[in-house]
């Protein structure tokens, strides 16, 4: 049984056979086929099961609106669920499997649900499954979830790649059918940059499916020649197999180009490209989609859209049956009967719901005017239809046309609302289209081909003229004018039989009626209550039909019933395409510090800090546990000298006559009188009085400062400073630039840090304690003339420096420092030791500067100047910001020094309660923000916040960690555990 439905001709290459499988059966089609056309050629009508009732379903359409023929394509990690067979280009080795059935497709076990359908009416689940209460999660929901859903995901990482691209044009034309091609020809002729995109893999739109003659040749041949002409023009970009999925602001369109062919041949090539198209104007020529009519049992395999029957016949050379009938409410349906008989396919009947004269003679067919189809028979394929006159007709394909709906989806993407047109019995785009968009052809409701061509032609030239291009004088193509008359037909009274409106989600005319009866009267309510239009076809064939049925139910006009609008995407888009290359390690950019290479050589453990990778610790041979390394790094730094890459701290170079005044307004403390050659610690608030960032700022010259920020806030502080300058005080003489990347910076900390540095600092720079005291700063040179900046500042609490060199010397500097430090047993230390030492010293960092704390809370109230205006001053004075019982930062140490030593975690995250209180939200006194085991003190210490903490030092409270089951007594103490007087700093 090989392609028994195949006839001669079509736009496929019948000399090139293509082999594929469907549910394991090997089948053949031809190059140029879609999966759907090849299945139909092989007489495979039954291709899937519906969502809810598991009804047997067949191919209904020949386009992206397909509700039924959705399948799993490929296998393993390449398996793609829910793929529409109607737009899947056939290729050798394609594997297709039907989905959503248990057991073979022909004998789906789940089809038993259809028997229970009276109980499963719209919204039935809102009314039951409530008892007993616990059964929802345990029983009902798992059962529903198991039977719901469509295709199966492979659960394996997507092996394909996706790219992003950007394109720019003057005029974007969406749809390469008759009107789109006509528009492209005149637009391109003007010299405008034109992009013409079409979702189909061959351009031409319906011309490829029809038998119309244009300019004396077949429509498809005319389209081919037009495409050839356009492709030869430098100012035209043709994008076939590309779906414009969304219209965004200011002429930005999202497009997905399918390149599956290339990706199959070469796995390095992207499967799809996500294009962002920037255009000045857009002409939407997206054509129209045929809609169904809701009559009894209208969902059997073999019941198809009349236009799809034509597409399979004319483009794919497939006769979908041997005795076809046609049911229509418009003239266009008759064309299907004509094309079939012209190609020798038997048409048994044409049924037209309108009481008019037959539109044309159809040889050998019975004609029924003013008649409807009320029922059909045939379990896995249609066998017969019953008419409203009681007559039964045997047929193997029923071609249905309920009229055409313009594809106006993109006109709604800016929430434009379409308008009802009674004559065409459909919605048309109105003036609420996105700015810059115009519509031509059948998308605009111009249903007559001859007129659509002229409209496209004129629109292309008038849009080009609007943009200032000189348009040519070419004439539109000509074709015979064929009338399109339609008379609305929504639901057919079908007695007890169900009439489907949304095939995939199994929504019937009765469901809509029930929803209306229960008070769900707006289109949105009906959609949500019945799930109509929510399936993978997004209601392309169902929505307008449903509104018609609602209007009939409620005896209202369609205008009064409502309308439907569409949101992106026009067709579903793979998540991988939106992500593009941003996945795995490329999810975020990676920033390496200047010592990264050297640190990797030392087998450092790295940690993500925002986009940076920093060394967390440097394990030595024999160290098996992270604490072994960190404790050693702390001890050795405090005993001798340690070196840490602190390049990630933000660095901002600031120059100008007013810099000191500017800093005065940014920081809570005074900066006007910082002498040249000195550094000062500064605390910066947000305007709401909450601490924003802290750091040191050095005065390198009268009008030259360099500021450091925390790593986390490097970008936002700079942005804030630019705001303050440009928006608040534009005339201050201040110029600044971020130099975070321009300087490599190392902390050299410990009692031997000066001795180490003296070995590399050039002799002319005296860095003795006298010449370069604590908080000194200066521009120096090292290693014989390498420019450097030296700051005598300390985060560790030891005698310490930070030394900065141009980044290109950063790798050398760490090597030079380590070599020079060898005699002192200098060690590198990572962020863990850095953190441990700052907690020992009581410096607030990220966990303390958490955006909820004021200068007072931090214990820095004394620094706050009352003599100047600065950002955050006024709002920092609010009563709530000054309350004595605010959460204030203090230190904590366990009463039992052995506490948590075996717990494997610190106190961080524990909440604090008074000794006798039961822990709850109302007894909660605060929390521990940072905590480490201190190798210097030999027990855990912590920083944290507790109500009124500054005046509670010495008090004992409990640190309760219910998450990890700990409850220990801790003493509130000063946060400055290590060298509280700061003597080490000044030696």
């Amino acid at each position: 049984m090989s392609q028994i439905n195949r006839i001669d001709g079509g736009l496929i290459d019948q000399t090139k056979s293509v082999s594929f499988t469907f549910n394991g059966q090997i089948l053949r089609g031809y190059e140029g086929d879609t999966l759907a056309s090849a299945l139909l050629a092989n007489n495979k009508h039954l291709v899937g099961r519906s969502f809810k009732y598991h009804r047997p379903r067949g191919i209904v359409t020949a386009g992206s609106e397909e509700p039924n023929a959705i399948m799993e394509i490929g296998h393993g990690a390449y398996k793609e669920p829910n793929t529409r067979a109607t737009i899947t280009q056939l290729y050798n080795g394609l594997e297709a499997n039907s989905q959503n059935h248990r057991g073979p497709l022909g004998f789906d076990f789940m089809a038993i649900t259809d028997f229970f359908s009276p109980f499963l009416s719209a919204g039935f689940y809102y009314k039951t499954f409530m008892w007993p209460k616990a059964f929802w999660e345990k029983f009902y929901e798992p059962a529903i979830r198991h039977s719901a859903g469509l295709g199966k995901l492979s659960m394996l990482e997507d092996p394909d790649t996706y790219d992003k691209g950007f394109r720019y044009c003057d005029i974007l034309i969406i749809g390469a059918g008759a009107s789109g091609l006509s528009a492209a020809l005149t637009a391109a002729e003007s010299g405008a940059r034109v992009i013409l995109a079409d979702e189909d893999f061959i351009m031409g739109g319906r011309l490829n499916s029809e038998t119309n003659e244009i300019n004396g040749m077949s429509g498809s041949e005319w389209a081919k020649q037009a495409v050839a002409k356009l492709s030869a023009m430098d100012n035209v970009t043709l994008m076939a197999d590309t779906t414009i999925f969304g219209a965004y602001d200011h002429g930005i369109y999202g497009a997905i180009e399918n390149r599956a062919d290339e990706a199959r041949a070469d796995s390095n090539k992207p499967r799809q490209v996500n294009w962002r198209i920037y255009t000045k104007r857009t002409i939407l020529c997206a054509g129209a989609t045929e809609r169904a009519i809701a009559f009894g049992n209208n969902d059997r395999p073999g019941i198809m859209m009349a236009s799809a029957v034509r597409t399979y016949l004319n483009r794919f050379a497939v006769a979908t049956g041997q005795s076809v009938s046609v049911y229509t409410n418009n003239d266009d349906g008759w064309q299907t009967a004509k094309d079939l008989t012209d190609k020798g396919v038997k048409v048994v009947a044409v049924i037209d719901s309108r009481s008019i004269d037959p539109v044309m003679a159809i040889e050998g067919a019975e004609i029924f005017m003013g008649t409807d189809v009320t029922d059909t028979k045939g379990r896995r394929a249609i066998k017969s239809i019953t008419l409203s006159n009681g007559k039964t007709i045997n047929t193997d394909t029923l071609a249905v046309s309920g009229g055409w709906n313009p594809n106006l989806h993109l006109t709604c993407h800016h929430r434009g609302i379409p308008k009802w047109n009674e004559e065409l019995a459909t919605f048309l785009p109105d003036s609420s289209v996105p700015v810059g968009m115009s519509v031509a052809g059948r998308a605009k409701g111009t249903m007559v081909l001859a007129d659509a061509i002229v409209e496209g032609h004129n629109e292309g030239s008038s849009v080009a003229a609007d943009l200032g291009f000189k348009t040519g004088d070419s004439k539109p193509a000509t074709t015979a004018s064929v009338a399109y008359n339609v008379s609305a037909k929504w639901g057919v009274p079908s007695g007890k039989n169900r009439a489907w409106v949304d095939y995939q989600n199994d929504v019937t005319a009765k469901d809509i009626k029930l929803a209306n009866q229960e008070g769900f009267k707006s289109v949105e309510h009906v959609k949500r209550y019945t799930t109509l239009g929510m399936a993978t076809d997004q209601g392309k064939t169902a929505n307008v039909l449903a509104i018609g049925i609602m209007a009939d139910n409620m005896d209202k006009s369609i205008e009064d019933t409502g309308t439907t609008i569409f949101r992106p995407p026009y067709n579903p888009v793979a998540m991988g395409a939106f992500a593009g290359r941003r996945r795995g390690m490329e999810f975020y950019p990676t920033r390496y510090t200047p010592s990264h290479k050297w640190s990797a050589e030392q087998n450092a453990i790295f940690v993500e800090v925002g986009m940076w990778y920093r060394s967390q610790w440097f394990p030595q041979p024999g160290e098996t546990f992270w604490r072994d390394s960190v404790d050693r790094e702390v001890r050795q730094t405090r005993e001798s000298v340690g070196i840490c890459d602190v390049t990630t701290l933000g660095k901002i170079d600031i120059k100008g006559a007013d810099v000191s005044e500017f800093l005065n307004r940014l920081y809570v403390n005074a900066f006007a009188k910082v002498p040249v050659g000195k550094t000062r610690y500064g605390l910066m608030l947000r305007e709401d009085g909450i601490a924003m960032d802290d750091g040191t700022t050095a005065r390198l010259g009268e009008n030259h400062f360099v500021m450091t920020t925390t790593t986390a806030n490097a970008v936002s502080v700079y942005r804030h400073m630019q705001f303050c300058h440009q928006c608040l005080w534009p005339d201050l003489d201040v110029h600044m630039i971020s130099v975070t990347e321009q300087y490599a910076q190392y902390a050299v900390a410990g009692p031997n840090s000066r001795k180490l540095l003296q070995k590399i600092v050039d002799a002319e720079h005296d860095i003795s304690n006298e010449a370069f005291p604590y908080m000194g700063a200066g521009e120096i040179s090292i290693c014989g003339g390498i420019p450097a900046r030296l700051f005598r500042i300390s985060f560790s609490g030891e005698l310490a420096y930070e030394i900065a060199v141009p980044t290109r010397y950063g790798d050398s500097l760490i090597r030079v420092l380590m070599e020079a430090g060898e005699e002192f047993n200098a060690i590198p230390y990572g962020t863990e030791a850095l953190g441990a030492m700052r907690i020992e010293k009581g410096h607030a960092a990220g966990p303390e500067l958490n955006g909820q704390t004021s200068a007072y809370d931090l214990g820095m109230g004394g620094m706050v100047s009352g003599k100047k205006d600065f950002i955050g001053y006024t709002l920092g004075l609010r009563e709530g910001m000054q309350r004595d019982d605010r959460m204030q930062m203090v230190g904590f140490k366990p009463v039992n020094k052995g506490a948590l030593l075996d717990a494997g975690h610190s106190m961080a995250g524990a909440h604090l309660v008074n000794l006798r209180d039961k822990p709850d939200t109302f007894t909660d006194q605060g929390w521990i923000s940072s905590s480490i085991y201190s190798p210097i003190f030999g027990h855990y210490i912590g920083l944290g916040y507790i109500k009124g903490g500054h005046s509670r030092k010495g008090e004992t409270v409990r640190a309760v960690d219910l998450v990890r089951g700990q409850d220990i007594e801790v003493e509130i103490c000063s946060p400055h555990f290590y060298d509280p007087e700061g003597e080490c700093l000044r030696v």
């Binding site: 965004y248 602001d249 200011h250 002429g251 930005i252 920037y278 800016h414 700015v435 007013d658 005044e661 305007e687 709401d688 970008v715 942005r719 630019q722 705001f723 440009q726 928006c727 608040l728 005080w729 534009p730 005339d731 201050l732 205006d869 001053y873 006024t874 709002l875 004075l877 609010r878």
Partner: protein, 96 residues
């Protein structure tokens, strides 16, 4: 969205960081007066949040670090004008 930068021409809004109302330029200067608390409260927290043409601050972080005042309709996203914030600030009488 596309923001027509007064110095650099049309740029994708992805290059920018949004802050909020351009009223944030009008930081009160009366920090020593009795009304300061109320004025700063109104300045920082209270928004017209207009459904219509909104004057708002965008920062060209992936570009020239200009702060811009963009007049943009919050119903349609149409951009009516784009100005350098420092020009706006000066025009509103701000200086040092």
């Amino acid at each position: 969205m596309i923001i027509n930068h007064p110095l650099l021409g049309p740029r994708d809004s992805e290059e920018f960081v949004y802050l909020g109302s351009a009223d944030l330029i009008n930081r009160p200067t009366n920090w020593e007066s009795e009304e300061a608390a109320e004025d700063f409260y109104q300045y920082l927290y209270i928004r017209e949040n207009i459904a219509g043409d909104n004057r708002e601050l965008w920062y060209h972080e992936q570009g020239d670090q200009s702060w811009l005042v963009v007049t943009r309709c919050t119903l349609t996203h149409e951009i009516k004008s784009v100005e350098l914030a420092q020009d706006v600030s000066r025009a509103q009488g701000r200086s040092k």
